[in-house]
Structures are given as structure tokens and as C-alpha cells.
Amino acid sequence: MTATLTRTPTSTAGSRLSRLRRVRRLRPGPLTYLTLTAFVFFSAFPLYWSVVVASRDNSVLGRVPPPLFPGDQLIANLRRVFDTVPFGLAMVNSLIVSSVITFSVVLFSTLAGFAFAKLRFRGRPGLYVAVIATMMVPTQLGIIPLYMLMAKLELIDSLYAVIAPNLVSAFGVFFMTQYLTAALPTELLEAGRVDGATTIRLFWHVVLPVARPAAAVLGMLTFMNAWNDFFWPLVVLTPENPTVQVLLSSIASGYFTDYSLTLTGTALATLPLILVLAVLGKQLIRGIMQGAVKG
């Protein structure tokens, strides 16, 4: 579990002197913890604040000093969110969109990653460079023709339109290729070949089990991104059939913003991802850090 996080000193820990010095470097003082605590406080505060507002009614929010602790209106606000706007529908839509995208990205990235990492074929280096190059391309700038295309296919206001452009990810292919290059033993594949296994059997019985940890991290990152995606869903969906982010923007955009309603929505919309972080945070952090080193 901690193998990747533990730093092993490269110098031989021979002399007492160097050991002494290492201790000095590795044992930080109280100021360090104070700084970190301040950072975590500022990181958490806006999210905590959304819970405070979500548990108050609007009149209290106009008071000076403002309330700093949660009140007792949470249930009432939750009821309002589900009764006055299609919040349940939005959550279900977001769940469908994010799940389909996650499944598809992980599957296609693992397939392509397997091919780029371990299979030999003509044009491989060039095609892989193309994958890496597309990671940097701001495809968001193509939304006008993409919108026209979806309109032509009569997919405006449909979840298909949100899902389709996100079915694959260049980052995903890159991530899985890097991982499988290092983690998948070539001998294992050769042994499978000798036994007469077809490529797809190798994929199913050899590659997938090895790919599982990286696939889990990629899945989490993809789900987060899909859940939080905003620009394209805003363009292609209407407030009648929204994802959660589109609905949030529409209830925040009235002439008068009902903050306790809106922030109840944002708190609820963030909750699933907070749960993911609570349960799988360690893997997620490791995944981000591994992706960074190899990138």
C-alpha cells in the first residue's frame, strides 16, 4: 500500500552524521503543521459553507453577523430542491451519463492501451504520437459544428448528445498504455500465444486482470470529470432535461438567486464525489501522482 509513498534514501546510511541530518530534514516542526492546517481549512471551508447555507432559510442569510454554523432547515431545503426543480431527474441523468462514459472510456482505453503497449503493428509510433498530441487540443472550440451535427441528428436535449463526444479519451489511452507497458509481463502474453490463445482471449484473461488497478483510477477520474462537466451539456441540454450541473446553473441564474435552495443543490451534487474521495482517496491521489510522474 505505501510502497510508492515511502522514500528510500539513496545514500548509504553509514555515518552517524548523515543519519542525524536526515532526521533533521524529515521531522518538520509545528509551523509546518500549522501551515498545512490553514491550507486544509481554506480548502474545506467553502464546501462547509455550502452546508451551512443549505441548512438555513434565506432570511437568516441576510443577517449580520452571518450564521457560521448549520441550522435546522436542511430537511425543508432538501424537500424544496426535489419539489420545486427536477433535481431527482437531474441526478439520475448525471448518473447515467457519467456511468456510461466511465465504462466506455475505461474499456476503449484499456483495449487501445494494450495494443499500443504490447502488440506490434505498422504505424504504431506515429499513431501513439497522434494520441498524445490530441491531449493538448482544445476540442471545446469545435462546439459549433458539434451542435449543428447533434441538431441534424435530432439529439438536442438528449443524453446521447452529452455522452457521444466523451466516449473515448486521449488521456485514458495514454494512461493505460503507460501502465500496461510497465505492469504487463510480455512473457505472460507469449505463454498465452503458445497455448493458442487468440488476442481477444489474451485481453480478457491476461490483460484485464493486470490492468484492474489502473482501470479503477482511470474510472474514478473519468467519473469525476463527467459528473462535473458543464460547457457542452449546457449547450446541448435544456433545463427540462438537465444534468445536475446544468440544473444548478439554471437555478442560480434567476434574477433573484434563492441561495439556500441553490446551495442545497450544490452540496447534494458534490456529495457523491466526496464519498468517492472518502473511500478511495488514497488510490485516487496515487493515481494522480503516478500520471504526473510519467507525464
Binding site: 539513496t10 491550507f39 476503449f108 503493428f121 482544445p138 450544490t266 491521489i285 504526473a292 510522474v293
Partner: protein
């Protein structure tokens, strides 16, 4: 060797085997290239074609007008205003964000108690959606009942109308971006820092170097490729800031980024032209100009950070 009859069977088998080995790789990478080509690259290229037309969603007729949209754009003060805002928000958000992330990563690169807790805490802002962040901060920055003005009031400051001013609104938007991305970048720097050999730090400590000196003289030169990477990624992201200004201006002026367009970014202007006025031709020209700006900014930053590396 097998006899004549089994040989034939063997041939079919070996043909199948070779077909499998030859075709499978292409089959496995084809979903990526097909979907990305059709829904990523093609729309981007087609944008160039649309940008050469007078093309509106409201009319069936698409007249070819050459580079007219581009010449208009170059004389469009709203476009230049949006470009200026984008650049200033990018500078205001990226510089403090990356400096803070470096310091944080330097602190995290100690043997800390509760390592995972600190890292998780710093990643927390990155989980909230940009929409949620913009809404929450929009409330915190409220003129009359916002918490931030209340705290400033306690410290003896006056009430600031964050939304109204150019500097204040852009500062508020930058703070949202800094808040959401500092911890994430710190984790990326931390990953790079862990690859720096401890012996370098030990030698520096023996020579009496302080912690900040070690950060400047050892760590930063060693992780420069990672720094260049983050600068380029945040340039590409920073040029496309959209949600924060849209929702910060929630209400009647949301598409224009404030009543005087004081915080309208390029992406927001693109959205206003394309989906507020449905002028697809002009919006496409805007998109291509943005593409140019992003490419220039990314290349410029790459060259700049590379030069610093040489100088340092």
C-alpha cells in the same frame, strides 16, 4: 510435418492466427480514433469552414463571405476586451496558484504524520464541480450579505462590490480558480519532488542551506520539466475559462460577463455569439482566433520557461 489433409486444416488455422495478430491491434485502437476523429477533430476543422460563411441558426442560407468574419473580429472591441480579460484572469490565477502549489509540495515533501489526511484535504476543492465552486463563491463574494465582506468589515475594511469593478471581479474569479487547482498542482509537484535524490538535500543541509534555499537551488531546477508541464496545461485551461464568469455574473448579465463586460472571457464571448445570438459563422471565427491565441500562448510559455531553465 503433418500429412496432406491435416496440412490444409493447419493452413486455415494459421491464416486465422495471422489475421488475428495482424488485425486485432487496429481493431483495438479504432474506437478511439473513430470517435475522436468524428466528434473531436472533424468539428474543430469544420469550424474553419463555417467561419468563412455568414451562417446563422435562424436562417437556411449560408453565404460564403471569405475572411469577413475575421476582419470584423479584429475590429470588434468586445473581442479585444474579452481577450484582455482572459489574459489578466489567467495571470492573476496561474502565478499565485503555481507558486503556492510549489511551497505546499515542498512542505508535503517531509515525513509528515497523517500524510494521507493532508493530501486528501488538499484535493478536496478539486472534487467540487466548477459550477458548484462558482455558485458558492458567488455567494461568499456577495456585496451586502457575503461572508468575505463581513470578514473584511471586521478587519476595518469597507464593503466591496466585488461584481461591479473590473479588478475586483477578476480577482474574485481568479480566487475561485486558485482555490480549485492549487492542491491538485501541489500533488503533481510532490510526485516530481519525490524523485529528487535525498542525498542532494543532505549535502545542502551540511552546507547550511535553509529550507527555502533548498527549494530554490535544488528542487526547482530538478523538477523543471514538471513545472513547464503545469504552466502549459494551466495556459490551455486558463484561456478557456468559462463557467466561473458565467455563473459569477448570474442574473441578467450572465452572458456578457457583467454589465460592462468587465469579466467576460473569450469562451464566454464565444458562447454569447454562438448561443445567445446564434451567429454561428462569427462564433466559429471567434473559436479559430481562440485556437490561435491558445497555441501562441502555449508555445510562448514553453519557450519562456525553457529560457528560465537555461538562465538558472
Amino acid at each position: 510435418m503433418p500429412g496432406p489433409a491435416p496440412l490444409k486444416e493447419f493452413d486455415v488455422k494459421s491464416w486465422l492466427y495471422r489475421a488475428d495478430v495482424k488485425a486485432s491491434p487496429y481493431l483495438y485502437i479504432s474506437p478511439f480514433f473513430l470517435v475522436f476523429g468524428a466528434l473531436g477533430v472533424f468539428p474543430l476543422l469544420y469550424t474553419a469552414w463555417v467561419s468563412l460563411h455568414k451562417w446563422s441558426l435562424l436562417s437556411e442560407q449560408h453565404t460564403f463571405v471569405g475572411i469577413d468574419n475575421y476582419t470584423h473580429l479584429l475590429h470588434d472591441s468586445f473581442f479585444w476586451n474579452a481577450l484582455g480579460n482572459t489574459v489578466s484572469i489567467w495571470v492573476l490565477s496561474t502565478v499565485p496558484q503555481l507558486v503556492l502549489a510549489l511551497l505546499l509540495a515542498h512542505i508535503l515533501n517531509n515525513r509528515l504524520r497523517g500524510e494521507t489526511i493532508w493530501r486528501t484535504g488538499l484535493l478536496l476543492p478539486n472534487l467540487a464541480s466548477v459550477a458548484a465552486v462558482a455558485i458558492i463563491f458567488g455567494q461568499l463574494f456577495g456585496r451586502d450579505f457575503g461572508l468575505i465582506n463581513w470578514v473584511l468589515g471586521l478587519a476595518g475594511g469597507g464593503h466591496i462590490d466585488w461584481h461591479a469593478g473590473t479588478a475586483t471581479s477578476q480577482l474574485a474569479i481568479s480566487i475561485m480558480i486558485i482555490w480549485r487547482w492549487t492542491g491538485y498542482n501541489a500533488l503533481i509537484y510532490l510526485a516530481a519532488m519525490q524523485a529528487v535524490p535525498d542525498s542532494l538535500h543532505e549535502a545542502a543541509i551540511i552546507d547550511g542551506a535553509s529550507s527555502l534555499q533548498r527549494l530554490r537551488k535544488i528542487t526547482i531546477p530538478a523538477i523543471r520539466p514538471t513545472i513547464i508541464f503545469t504552466v502549459i496545461v494551466s495556459t490551455i485551461g486558463g484561456m478557456q475559462v468559462f463557467t466561473e464568469p458565467l455563473l459569477f455574473g448570474a442574473g441578467s448579465n450572465s452572458l456578457t460577463g457583467g454589465s460592462d463586460r468587465q469579466f467576460q472571457t473569450l469562451s464566454l464571448y464565444l458562447y454569447e455569439v454562438g448561443f445567445g445570438r446564434y451567429d454561428f459563422g462569427y462564433a466559429s471565427a471567434t473559436a479559430w482566433m481562440m485556437f490561435l491565441v491558445i497555441a501562441l500562448a502555449a508555445i510562448g510559455n514553453y519557450l519562456l520557461t525553457r529560457r528560465i531553465r537555461r538562465a538558472g
